[in-house]
Symmetry: C3
Subunit: 139 residues, 3 copies
Amino acid sequence: MRICSERLQIRTQGKGTYEISDQVQAAVSKCQIEAGTVTMFVQHTSCSLLMMENAAPAARRDLERFFDRLVPENGQDYEHDDEGPDDMPAHIRMALTRTSETIPIVSGKLQLGTWQGIFLFEHRRASHTRRVWLTIIGE
Amino acid sequence: MRICSERLQIRTQGKGTYEISDQVQAAVSKCQIEAGTVTMFVQHTSCSLLMMENAAPAARRDLERFFDRLVPENGQDYEHDDEGPDDMPAHIRMALTRTSETIPIVSGKLQLGTWQGIFLFEHRRASHTRRVWLTIIGE
Amino acid sequence: MRICSERLQIRTQGKGTYEISDQVQAAVSKCQIEAGTVTMFVQHTSCSLLMMENAAPAARRDLERFFDRLVPENGQDYEHDDEGPDDMPAHIRMALTRTSETIPIVSGKLQLGTWQGIFLFEHRRASHTRRVWLTIIGE
């Protein structure tokens, strides 16, 4: 049993979902761990992780619109708006989705379902460089 | 320290919550790991994991009704509806709950709270066979 | 590789967010694990874990108000209300946030982002003593 750490840097171009499945698989392969788990951890509170259908882009657009309606940028009276109207909605959308996620590894491969992808869910309008820590534990 | 993997197959009969605590405990016992963690991972994007009160069925009915209202099958104009009106709401309800969950093991037992159960939360109307990967790490 | 378990007891004084980052770091330091992960697990279904901005208290107040509106204590007709009007909303707010969360450890330190804190999110009005299991795996 051993541990391997990797840090991904993801460049985002405003609100939306960015698939990172290939980068996570590449990190697992680089660590040469055949059986175990990879834990992903987002070091931010205004973006999050999302496991989602990765075949139909329309599904992700619907999901993004749902979050836009559920946590609107206007129409709510937020006390905290230091960084603009997308500041507080970003924190709430993060809280409603995930910060860490753990995926099994078998024979060196992430055990994702057929249409299941890993996404970084960016909640801010501006471009950001986002850090995702990967901790791979196994043998 | 060692790793043990098990795959549960859960047969669902339409939308609702299905308790799997006993199956998870049985897999932990079979692996004979006394101290560590079990990580559960759902290989789907239209069902999810739910930790929930397992004594009062009314609590789960209320929770299911809440999600029916929050993410309605009609009344929203979803772009993605290839598989019917429950297709897109299923993905959104999954995103709002959990895909992976990690539970501690002490003396070979899951450290669940007194009224805490593990549930598969099925979001589709039709019957499905759902796969949940368990990765048990410990000694 | 080894495993270390610790159990935190958190005294809450009604609904709100209680930062526990320091207690989690103290447990990690006590276990003397330099590289690995800490998994937190809440043994309750009426409080939850929340990763959140820890600099601006206004951000947490906004988030708490959002959940009060999204899952109101009145105005919905809950079937399950054995323990009062905050009973069922507590379970739903728990389901929408997190029960377990896994954070990387590097050089003995939690790899939290600059403004990222770990909070216990209490959903009940009365005071409670809440248990959070920590499982620290690493070397």
